[in-house]
Assembly symmetry: none
Homo-oligomer: 225 residues x 2
DNA sequence: CTGACACTTCGGCCGGGACCGAAGCATTCC
DNA sequence: GGAATGCTTCGGTCCCGGCCGAAGTGTCAG
């Protein structure tokens, strides 16, 4: 029920004329059909059809006043939806996005139990996978021979025994992509602390990357965070 | 500048095939082009065109791995955008005036001790049985191999030991049909809470299905509640 | 009543885009 | 090496839906 509706709603917004109408109403004002037709750049009869469709979909509401009909966005949720689409649309070309420092810091690098998460965590995981050091499957992961050599060269101690999974991935909630967990993830994190590449931040989970870390992480993993 | 882009992004989501692809990726997993073609109900070459368009728009990112290409949502903002559209979409059909709200909500989804009941509970049980994931007999039930794989893919932890029955059914008093109880029923319920698919309502037993839950439950169990 | 204005409905035209078959690369397996 | 698999590009068909002109409904002014 809700999947075809997703396409339906999006298709409504996807027409240029209708998108123009919606953006004209975005600030909450109520405008007449003729004004909206002009804003959309189409004739009144064409706009009328668009307005009827958006009415039926519940995107707009209308009040009759004399021989005018004032249209406006039906609910605040509609405005918020438009805003979230614009956020995605205006983010794709440039990389500009205002954000709180704390939020940004956590997204950049943080701990997840005893391993790394955020851009740092997924960056390391990507690097290891692209270089053939690890293979990540649906139900865990494995370290290749070159991966073991790489870890030894890095100085990460993965000899710790135990019943704990050796190498697994863990979905990152800010990046929505996997980072490394398990013994390997923890060993890499510990080694980075020992090397002074990262330090604890104010928030217990927050991490700060040191100047030396910038260099080391770039050399070891090709990261530029 | 951002108006034509609004229509552009929305038009991408507005095609049914592309909307299916996006919803299949909604939970953050990465899927191959072929899997997505199947999910969208189109041939691989058609899906390939869709994927290319969404890549160029910055909605998706891709990782090459061997001869597979794993696609995923590019950023968390994309997921949030989809959720906000779903929120509007699932609100639009003005609910056919129900009986008492409380009664209707309880019939739709509620807890029964530590597992799900109501339409939600029997829907999940039906789905698992129809797909051969569980067999329900008179005095209990058993989970098949495919069922164990399904639960693991879902992220439901059924490893908890104890003397408790592993999988049993429980007669639903509103639907007069069985829903799942035991360790399996509890694990599924817990996982749905963790995924944010359902939340507690006012009444301790009452449950509310979130917009994301609408999607997730449809995807995982084929439910349209 | 008559004419002006706001808006909608109807009918036909037309273009963009979704779709698939066939063929072309890339990668892996035997 | 050759075959199989995953994915993409190309070419051609076809249909959905936006668009406008003309005509219909409703409201206000004089």
């Amino acid at each position: 029920m809700s999947i075809p509706q997703l396409a339906e709603i999006a298709a409504l917004i996807g027409d240029p004329a209708r998108a123009n109408i919606l953006t004209a109403l975005f600030d909450g004002r109520a405008l007449t059909a003729t004004e909206l037709a002009f804003a959309a750049g189409v004739t009144p009869q064409t706009a009328s059809g668009h307005l009827a469709k958006m009415m039926q979909a519940g995107l707009l509401s209308v009040v009759k006043q004399g021989r005018h009909r004032y249209y406006r966005l039906a609910t605040p949720q509609v405005a918020q939806m438009l805003e979230s689409i614009i956020a995605v649309a205006s983010m794709t070309p440039p990389r500009l996005r205002p954000r709180t420092k704390r939020e940004d810091a956590l997204r950049r690098a943080r701990t997840c139990y005893d391993h790394f998460a955020g851009l740092l965590g997924v960056g390391i995981a990507d690097s290891l996978r692209e270089n053939g050091h690890v293979n990540l499957g649906d139900d865990g992961g494995e370290v290749t021979d070159s991966g073991m050599a790489f870890l030894e060269a890095l100085g990460a101690d993965v000899s710790r025994p135990g019943r704990r999974p050796f190498c697994r991935h863990c979905l990152d909630w800010t990046e929505r992509r996997p980072h490394l967990a398990g013994v390997v993830g923890a060993a890499i994190a510990l080694r980075c602390f020992d090397l002074g590449w990262v330090k604890r931040g104010r928030d217990p989970r927050e991490l700060a990357i040191t100047p030396g870390g910038q260099l080391g992480l770039h050399q070891a993993f090709g990261l530029t965070i």
